[in-house]
Amino acid sequence: MNNNSIKTVGIMAQFSNPGELMKAAEKLRDSGYSKFDCHSPFPIHGMDKAMGLSSSSLGWVVGLAAIIGTTGALGLQWWTSTIDYPLVISGKPLFSFQAYVPITFAVGVLLSGVAALIGMLALNGLPRWNHPVFNSDKFEKVTDDAFFISIEAEDPKFHTDETIQFFESIGGTNCELLQENQ
């Protein structure tokens, strides 16, 4: 190992169950840590509050996509049937909006759905296949039955020894440094 190029980017500790994880998150929040994350195999209700996170802003992304989808679809139907190639069908007005509702709705839903997935990934910084937490061997249990908290070294309160001590005082086990080759 080439020690010069290894940098500590965070600390991770394991907790035994969702309740412990949530209590630890509350203590980290109360003692001023801000750049930490609680890893669990399933979403835990109340964790956003325990970590001091605001609610997700994904709704705005999807709302915008829905507006673009519906206006785009309605606009296409209006433009093709009244401007680009006006054609009287069954004696109906050129812009008979009732008949354009189903497609307007479908395209709105389609774009919202795409925006929900892509927006969720973008807000989560995904896809990101490489992350320091994956360097830990124990971490692969996080998708099975293990619970972890990781604190990033960028957190203003981060200090290698003190943070480890703090983790141990709130019930964390298996504390380990997360390191990355620079």
């Binding site: 994350d37 929900a116 969720m120």
Partner: protein, 464 residues
């Protein structure tokens, strides 16, 4: 490790959702175990049979493309035959998956977690089968792109006022959004597969598909919102897709088709047949893979209750159609319905009534509702009945239209039958591949409904 509870009651009704003292890790082992174990011999037999049927489909479609729609049994009044019947039937089956994943999610029905993953997969595969039929029924499939608003050399556009074009958008959107929903639900479970992968090739494939999922709450926060939004937009979609499909008929002026009851009637029928297919598949899956603790009798009983409800809605629609035919005073409408029940397609009509209206009445009785053989047979009969419902609607109205001089009897040819039978090959091939390579039950969601998943559950207890 969390302490396994003997009898886990999570729903408000004191009936345990998941039985057999499961822990987080036992759920992972059980569900991933299905795909990590050596491929069972029965799977090879099943995929062999499915692939054979798939070749039947490819052969019949190939001959159709070569020869044209003349190979089907279509005749002068009956210009829509099995292709549209099969399309409507397969799309209908798809509806249960979206209903389970979207509507039951919004209604906080936690029992959905054991069945939502494969019901969603079933939706995707059923809609894939459905999409074949409108694709090939145009005959000259190399100009199927006319269905999309693509600028072309003729400078013309599709007719946006046509329900057939609404279908293209509604069903296309339905497939796409169902796929997004299914994949979003799969991401955390793909993470599990990535972390358990032993071979390099599996590590790479599942690693790419899991897209770097770390299970952090900062991710769960957006993930759960995305799931909620997808459920929210899929809910009107479930109701709209089959409504749009029904307008293919309802917007025409043919007696027996031109009715306002069609959209709700079609949606109820779609959910009815979809749940029947979920039932058929889940009984087989729980038997083969020993999933009795995850898909319990209580789950199956709830599906039966939904089938009873939607079956009654369908039965109500059948009777209201007759009432309106009489009440309208329209002699053409009256003739069509008398002809349905007592004319030359009466056999099909009474198959439909027996399977769709009489059979679900069994589920009034708790004993029958909880009997696996009864529900298995009933679910198959219901899907036969639902196929005949579409047959009755399409063929009886067309074969006896306004002018008696046009009347003719429709009989399918070998190619109609082979194409339909072949579509099961596509469905089961996709389904068997799915249960072999992906977790057929959502581990994340099932873990989430265990009482240990509640942060207030574990705090008071000692843990090992």
């Amino acid at each position: 490790m969390n302490k396994p509870a003997e009898n886990i009651a999570v729903s408000s009704e004191d009936v345990p959702l998941i039985t057999g003292g499961q822990t987080f890790s036992s759920i992972t082992e059980k569900i991933v175990g299905i795909i990590e174990q050596k491929t069972p011999k029965t799977w090879y037999l099943a995929i062999g049979a499915s692939l054979s049927l798939l070749m039947v489909l490819m052969g019949s479609v190939g001959f159709l493309v070569w020869e044209g729609t003349g190979i089907w049994g279509l005749n002068n009044p009956v210009g829509w035959g099995w292709a549209i019947i099969n399309f409507v039937w397969w799309v209908g089956i798809g509806h249960a998956g979206t209903l389970i994943s979207a509507i039951l999610f919004l209604l906080r029905q936690k029992w959905r977690t054991s069945i939502n993953r494969f019901a969603e997969a079933m939706t995707l595969f059923a809609v894939s089968c459905a999409l074949i039929f409108p694709g090939i029924h145009v005959g000259r499939i190399w100009i199927a792109y006319y269905m999309f608003p693509i600028p072309n050399q003729m400078d013309i556009w599709p007719n946006f006022r046509s329900p057939l074009l609404w279908d293209v958008f509604a069903v296309g959107t339905y497939f796409a959004v169902s796929f997004l929903f299914w994949y979003t639900g799969l991401i955390p479970d793909l993470g599990t597969l990535r972390d358990r992968a032993q071979t390099r090739i599996k590590k790479i494939i599942f690693g790419i598909l899991a897209i770097g999922w770390r299970g952090g709450n900062r991710q769960w926060r957006h993930y759960e919102r995305a799931y909620l939004i997808l459920a929210g937009i899929s809910t009107p979609l479930v109701l709209s897709v089959h409504s749009v499909v029904s307008t293919d008929f309802a917007v025409s002026i043919l007696p027996g088709w031109h009715t306002t009851i069609f959209p709700p009637y079609f949606v109820a029928g779609a959910i009815f047949s979809g749940f029947a297919m979920v039932m058929t598949l889940s009984i087989i899956a729980r038997k083969i893979f020993n999933l009795d603790h995850l898909i319990t009798l209580n789950h199956l009983e709830k599906i039966n209750k939904i089938m009873l409800l939607t079956g009654m809605m369908v039965g109500y629609a059948y009777s209201i159609e007759f009432f309106i035919a009489w009440y309208s005073g329209n002699i053409y409408e009256q003739f069509v319905f008398i002809n349905r029940a007592f004319g030359n397609y009466a056999w099909a009509y009474w198959i439909m009534i027996s399977c769709n209206v009489v059979v679900p009445q069994l589920f009034w009785f708790k004993k029958l509702r909880r009997s696996i053989p009864i529900m298995f047979i009933a679910s198959i009969l219901i899907n036969i009945g639902m196929w005949f419902e579409r047959f009755v609607i399409v063929v009886t109205s067309l074969s006896r239209d306004f002018l008696p001089a046009n009347w003719d009897y429709f009989s399918p040819t070998m190619w109609d039958i082979l194409t339909f039978v072949g579509s099961f090959g596509l469905f089961f091939t996709l389904f068997l591949l799915f249960i072999r390579v992906l977790p057929m039950i959502s581990m994340t969601e099932v873990k989430g409904v265990l009482p240990e998943a509640d942060p207030h559950h574990s705090t008071g207890e000692s843990h090992e």
